[in-house]
């Protein structure tokens, strides 16, 4: 039975690389090559560094990252590997044990396993100084891979049920986005910590890994090298027991998945009947523009992808500015005043593929005469209504918390609004000029779909540059005012910034409206998901 799973997995992997669209194939091959290159690089590093001073810590930290990655990544990729989901096999007459054995075998086939063998093997070699240590090291490598694999399968299968319902997927999306958003601030904090503590900090982190279950085997190798066989054997035994226990849990989860009812996602949340949210009714213009803006406001909250993107923009914007203060010289800095600007910039970046996110629903705009202008302006209005108050608040709070001079705060407010306008101008045009399709309800929160590969990336890069370029004059003014200590200039930005942003947004809207009216059907075609 395991043999059939192996053949299935091999066939799926091969098909992914030989058939499928050009982009899929390219991504698959790139991924494979990248994995190989990194794997060989790490392995070479370990082999070369054998016996040298920091190699123990390096191995442990690598094992820690490996374990975390092996556990977490399948959760994010759930759904892209069909052999992972037991539901696919629910109609076959298989016992749970057969299913578990089969999935274990097939899970160990593929690129990631090659990577694991390369790196874990080299790590084992790097720690070896005698035959006995070598034997233990090999056992450790195998055990680490096993416990990670079984653990990740147990985790995926247990959580898998909730990932099948719509609400579960929505939540997973949000969690993944927040996770992604916290990577950079986390990295900066770790860097700051290491800067302070130096190599002692590195050793402490390495020690931390020996406490984790997937760190036990390699910790055992270190024990053996130091001559203490007792703790080593205990660690190895404990890992083995844990692996068996996880396998049993996995079996139970499989049974539950196969026999349990599908988690129903159609619990149908009831919403009030009004399209226009109450809090914004006085501000919104009546008619088509107001309708589009109202729809957009609803979507920014209700569509999990947009909500995740909006929250990510918020966190990343604040995080980047806050991180510069942490890694800077002393405590909180005046640049916190400009936290709002970063958020404004990233918020508008989210709009660069608005039509792609809406998917083929844009057909209603095409089918309604004269609605292109309303669509563009309504979208812009919605972003302004959401982002402007947030950025203003951040500027004020940042100025107060960072202890920046008032003039800086004033210029920050002006710059925020300029950034919003500039961003809207660039991304509005981008959204019409270079839309691309995004899968409808992805199991993988990070799926971006076929896209069109290189040309799309190039377009997005151009859009990003355009966004910056339009903002440059205002940024230059602020720099001039800050560096030259000219408060008058900074106060002027408070007035000039919003005007600049408004003008830019209008120009962008006009260009985009013309384009949408001329090439509406092409936009619809571009955002239709392939296959």
């Amino acid at each position: 039975m395991a043999r059939h799973f192996l053949r299935l997995k091999l066939r799926v992997v091969l098909n992914g690389m030989t058939r499928g669209s050009g982009t899929q194939r390219a991504l698959g091959i790139v991924g494979l090559v990248l994995g190989l290159v990194i794997g060989i690089g790490v392995a070479a590093g370990f082999i070369a560094g054998r016996g040298s001073d920091g190699v123990d810590d390096a191995v442990l930290i690598f094992v820690g990252l490996f374990g975390l990655g092996w556990l977490v990544l399948p959760l994010l990729l759930f759904g892209s590997d069909n052999t992972v989901d037991p539901m696919r096999f629910s109609l076959l007459p298989l016992s749970p044990q057969q299913l578990v054995r089969g999935q274990l075998a097939s899970g160990l086939v593929g690129g990631p396993t090659v990577f694991a063998v390369l790196t874990l093997g080299a790590a084992a070699y790097a720690l070896t100084d005698s035959v006995s240590t070598g034997v233990v090291a090999v056992v450790a490598a195998v055990l680490t891979l096993l416990v990670c694999q079984v653990g990740s399968r147990a985790l995926t299968t247990s959580i898998g049920g909730s990932l099948r319902s719509r609400r579960g997927r929505d939540f997973a999306l949000l969690a993944a986005a927040l996770l992604g958003a916290s990577v950079y601030p986390l990295q900066l904090s770790v860097q700051a910590y290491l800067n302070e503590t130096g190599s002692a900090g590195v050793s402490r982190i390495a020690d931390l890994v020996t406490w984790l279950p997937f760190g036990w085997p390699y910790a055992a190798v270190l024990d053996v090298r130091d001559g203490s066989w007792g703790p080593a054997l205990v660690r190895l035994a404990a890992t083995s027991v844990l692996t068996v226990a996880l396998a049993w849990l996995w079996g139970r989860a499989v049974v539950r998945t196969l026999e349990g009812p599908e988690a129903s996602g159609s619990s149908g949340r009831a919403v009030s009947g009004d399209l226009v949210p109450a809090w914004v009714r006085p501000v919104l213009p009546r008619g088509a523009v107001g309708a589009v803006a109202a729809k957009e406001l609803r979507y920014w909250w209700r569509d999990p992808r947009r909500r995740a993107a909006a929250l990510t923009a918020l966190f990343v914007g604040v995080g980047i500015v806050a991180a510069t203060t942490i890694t800077g010289e002393d405590g909180l800095g005046s640049q916190l005043a400009f936290a709002g600007v970063a958020v404004a910039f990233f918020s508008t970046m989210n709009c660069a593929n608005q039509f792609g996110l809406d998917g083929t629903a844009i057909w209603s705009t095409l089918a309604t005469p004269g609605s292109a202008a309303a669509d563009i302006r309504g979208r812009q209005l919605a972003v302004v209504l959401l982002a402007a108050p947030t950025c203003l608040l951040l500027s004020v709070v940042g100025t107060v918390v960072g202890g920046a001079p008032l003039a800086w705060g004033a210029s920050a407010i002006g710059l925020c609004l300029a950034a919003l306008g500039a961003g809207l101008a660039a991304t509005t045009v981008m959204a019409v000029a270079a839309p691309y399709s995004v899968p409808e309800n992805p199991s993988n929160p990070f799926a971006t779909g076929g896209g069109g590969g290189c040309s799309t990336a190039a377009y997005q890069g151009v859009g990003f540059l355009a966004q910056l370029l339009v903002l440059v004059p205002m940024v230059a003014l602020v720099f001039w005012g800050v560096l030259g200590d000219r408060p008058a200039v900074l106060w002027a930005v408070l007035v000039v910034g919003p005007l600049w942003g408004f003008a830019a947004a209008q120009v962008g809207a006009r260009i985009a409206t013309g384009m949408l009216e001329r090439r509406g059907p092409e936009v619809l075609l571009a955002v239709t998901p392939r296959g």
């Binding site: 309708a291 998917g359 083929t360």
Partner: protein, 261 residues
């Protein structure tokens, strides 16, 4: 060929052609949908029905040919006039499904620059007739496939168009909802509207339509009044004869039913 200026057909397609890469999806389609008719477009999967209807309504740009709604050129000088007069229910296109049913209708109406009071009254009636009043507060993404067709139909009817273009409106719709839709469409045609819809289901087309066109491999194989096209046989027989394809799997599969697992 042009479209007569006086009393033009509700929908006129002239020489429409569309190619996707190597595949010719629609190969020179000419069609006339008379005003006040109930027109059925039948064909197998991949015949080009959806492509044709998309090109006819301004959603997909044809490689060649033109489409006229009530005499107004969809792809030329008068797309706004043409689009004002038509209500569309496309197949396989998303709706704004993060809105509730009622919100979706409000949005469609406001986009058409209708008065909010009119929208509210018509939405309530449409939801009631289509038995969607209870689901009016639920997000469309939680609707079943049949409910989605119904709310899409409601959005197409909201601005009281002269022509309805419906792509597979009865697919995945239960018999009760299907009956409600049929009744609405029949009343609409009796009041002077024109309906063109595509379907696989021959019995339905025979029952409802007075005009029919058979399309396969991107070409119109037969078109006209349904009695003329049928000429005594059933529409299914005519369809199979025109389209070809295998029938009668009387031989083979000898193990089926004799050696059970």
């Amino acid at each position: 060929m042009t479209v007569p200026a006086t009393d033009p057909p509700a929908l006129a397609l002239r020489g429409l052609r569309k190619t996707f890469g190597q595949t010719v999806a629609v190969d020179h389609v000419d069609l006339d949908v008379p005003r006040g008719s109930f027109f059925g477009l039948v064909g197998p999967n991949g015949a080009g029905k959806t492509t044709t209807l998309s090109m006819a309504t301004g959603l997909l740009r044809p490689d060649a040919g033109s489409a006229f709604i009530d005499g107004h050129d969809v792809w030329g000088s008068g797309p706004a006039e043409a689009k004002r007069r038509v209500g569309i229910l496309p197949d396989g296109q998303r709706l704004f499904d993060r809105l509730s049913g009622r919100e979706l209708l409000t949005y469609a109406g406001l986009l058409r620059r209708m008065e909010p009071a009119v929208i509210a009254q018509r939405s309530a009636e449409l939801l009631d007739v289509l038995d969607l009043t209870d689901a009016g507060s639920t997000l469309v993404i939680d609707y079943s496939a049949g409910m989605r067709k119904k709310i899409g139909l409601a959005a197409a009817l909201l601005h009281s168009p002269r022509l309805l273009v419906l792509d597979e409106p009865f697919e995945a719709v239960d018999p009760v909802s299907g009956g409600a839709i049929r009744t609405i469409l029949q009343r609409y045609v009796e009041a002077g509207g024109t309906v063109i819809f595509s379907s696989h289901v021959m019995e339905l087309v025979e029952r409802l339509c007075d005009q029919v066109a058979v399309i396969a491999a991107g070409r119109v194989l037969a078109a006209g009044a349904i009695d003329d096209v049928r000429s005594g046989r059933s529409l299914e027989d005519v369809f199979v004869a025109l389209v070809g394809g295998r029938r009668d799997t009387g031989e083979g599969l000898s193990w089926l039913g004799t050696s059970f697992a």
